[in-house]
Amino acid sequence: MIPAFEEPRIGVYVCDCGTNIASKLHVPEVVDYASTLPNVTIAKEYKYMCADPGQLMIKKDIREHNLNRVVVASCSPHLHESTFRKATLDGGQNPYLFHMANIREHVSWVTSDIDDATNKAKAIVSGAVYRVAYHESLEPQKVDVRPEVLVVGGGIAGITAALTIGNSGKKVYLVEKESTLGGHMAKFDKTFPTLDCASCILTPKMTSVKNHPNIEIITFAEVSEVSGFVGNFHIKVKKRPRYVIEDECIGCYACVEQCVYKVPKFLSEFDEGIGLRKPVYIPFPQAVPNYAVIDPETCIEFKSNKCKKTCVTACNEVAGRDAIDFNQKEEIIELDAGAIIVSTGFKAFNPDVMPQYGHTRYENVYTSLEVERLVNSAGPTGGEVILKDGSKPESVGIIHCVGSRDKNHNKWCSKVCCMYSLKLAHLIKERTGAEVYNFYIDMRTPGKGYEEFYEKLLEEGTHFIRGKVAEVTDWAITPQEEGKLVIRAEDTLIGTVRRIPVDMVVLAVGLEPGKDAGDIRRIFNMSCSEEGWFLERHPKLAPVSTFTDGVFIAGACQGPKDIPESVAQAQAASAEAMCLIDKGFIELEPNVAVIDETRCSGCHVCLGLCPYTAITYNKEKEVAVINEALCKGCGTCVGACPSKAINQRLFRDEQIFAELEGLLLV
């Protein structure tokens, strides 16, 4: 097949990628082969095509050899397509007269036999050479970008992102699932390694968010639907009823105090179930926004309709307000935004699936998050570390890597557990004077001041035993073990099984993708890693971008992260979002579908196929019409048109036919 239009003059550049490609296939052979292909003017090998000299070579050759098509055989187009399009443009040609042959990810890295790899690379290069001959000059589609940003998730990452963008003068919507901002960090007492008080660094930020003129907080709400695309997202937010009118409530606690339940009776979610709350409550005193919530599951009025409703009386009489509304309904709020930052965080591993550690079976086995509430001075015990019977523990065992680095559960290292275990060890020792034993597989303390913190704990006399714990049991075999929990582990440093009797066991649970991460991923059209963490566009070069333009990720929803990293990532995501909205427009891939009216028979087949209703029917002309602004370039209509009246730019039928033919040459 030879295209009938302007004579193509193709330059083919095969990249060595250092040794990534060159050591796995015969690059010179591929270059020689390429030079024999139709329309190829020159074919060259270079060590690093993506580096400046490589790009310069393309620019120079376009001018010197009058090239009008460029093929680079190197890595994935997802990595460097834009780099080489720009080089083509700088050389004086339209950037879309370029095509990339992926011979690294798809050949050299996946093929062990060097001849097979060489052959496959030749096929892929000829596919690209055949295809590029049919490429056409195109202009990117320009679309306006709305100036608002939606931040989803109000933990430390979301708070940071909202503040950063809000401070730049842009409007931010911050949507939080719970009734208050703060996320996991709000539950902590101290942060490692500096041991500064979590509350003292977090709550002022929460207040700033609340008072920020550019930030609108929507709590007790979840994004239920996102339509539109980069620059013009239309978002539906489902706001659950809190049965308290937000504009009326002043957070005075009168309703909580006067609730018919004189004492708290129900497990507090915020206190990880170790504290109690009433049916009407405020999760913690510094909650932002500071509004009461009524839990319909436990409130008598919802169950029987026969409550005395002392909370309502209190609200009216003490506060002079009328904030309680038992008839509040779910609300749908519609928003428009140009960019979205997803910072929905993580979920702690549930150790109940590891019965050998006895969580729930033994009352003094706690998860690390439960202990965080226990050591928190605003927690249910006022910061006192006490056992269920109220006494102080004399010895405490901390079991590391619960659910992490474990092929039966999660393979990954949760990254923060070593450090928070050290922090808890320090706090427990400080508050109770107990002997603390850490059972670890490896101590992982990379980070500024982290190793020094570990060093400090060693000096404080905390015990470290290297070995994965086999079980926690109350079966005593010596008098010293009576009434204690015995941690049984192999000490791999001295090569013997040890039994350590303790009063309290802390399970350092790992981090997992959030419970609803799957739904969130679908709503925002993101990808996930195999484990369920949201996938970044590139691990090194685009760590906060996703494969959906205009949607960014920050914090532990992308993978286990500590607070400094979450904050840094949130600020990075804010910068990316601001780049987008500040510019005011975005250039999209010009891969929309176009209709040849002379061929269209007006059969209507394409109309029902378009998920974006971009295709309408023109009754006068009796042809289908595509609205290019609505077309996202999937090409589904093109694949279905029986008259071949529709074609897709960048993926024209003839380009793909030619590519397939080229791919099958050798």
Binding site: A4, F5, E6, S76, H78, N94, N102, E105, H106, W109, V110, T111, S112, D116, A117, N119, K120, A123, I124, G127, E136, S137, E139, P140, K142, V143, D144, R522, S527, C528, S529, E530, L535, F547, T548, P590, V594, L609, P611, Y612, E628, K632, G633, C634, G635, T636, V638, G639, A640, Q648, F651, R652, D653, E654, I656, F657, L660, L663, L664, L665
Partner: protein
């Protein structure tokens, strides 16, 4: 002696899931059969039935279509349309005398590099057992009429 049959397999993969899985397989240095040659489309819904027939005509012994899992399509539902066409297309290729097993559709997400490796190896084995595609010249494809090709004037899109 007859040369060992080394089938040519065309993969037409969507940009957002299966193509990424192939990239990830590379990044993870997974080794798999070198018979697969991948063409990228934005969505599996783009796959025109004639792409498949054309590939068979031009030398493919098997065609593997790859898209996002149902519910995960980057374009909402293009993969469902691909599935509808695939089911019909299986019947059509039968009428051309092509064994239905030479065409396969798989949902492979961007993180399922291992599935991509497994499917490619499996499919390569299937095609090896079927042998080279006979009578490919008999396949009629109304691919495109070369005489109809003309210079395509770029349509400039102004903002």
């Amino acid at each position: 002696m007859e040369e060992k049959f080394n089938p040519k397999i065309i993969g037409i993969f969507c940009n957002w899931c299966t193509y990424l899985a192939a990239d990830l397989a590379g990044i993870s240095r997974m080794q798999y059969a070198a018979n697969l040659r991948i063409s990228r489309v934005m969505c599996s819904g783009r796959v025109h039935p004639e792409f498949v027939l054309w590939a068979f005509k031009k030398g493919a012994d098997g065609v593997l279509l790859g898209g996002c899992h149902p519910g995960d399509c980057h374009y909402i539902e293009g993969n469902y349309k691909a599935l509808r066409r695939y089911i019909l297309l299986k019947k059509v290729i039968g009428q051309f005398g092509i064994d239905e097993r030479r065409l396969r559709l798989e949902w492979i997400s961007g993180s399922e590099a291992d599935k991509l490796r497994r499917v490619t190896n499996e499919f390569t084995e299937t095609i090896k057992s079927l042998g080279p595609l006979p009578n490919r010249d008999d396949i009629e494809v109304d691919a495109f009429d070369e005489s109809e090709l003309k210079i395509v004037e770029p349509e400039y899109v102004t903002s």
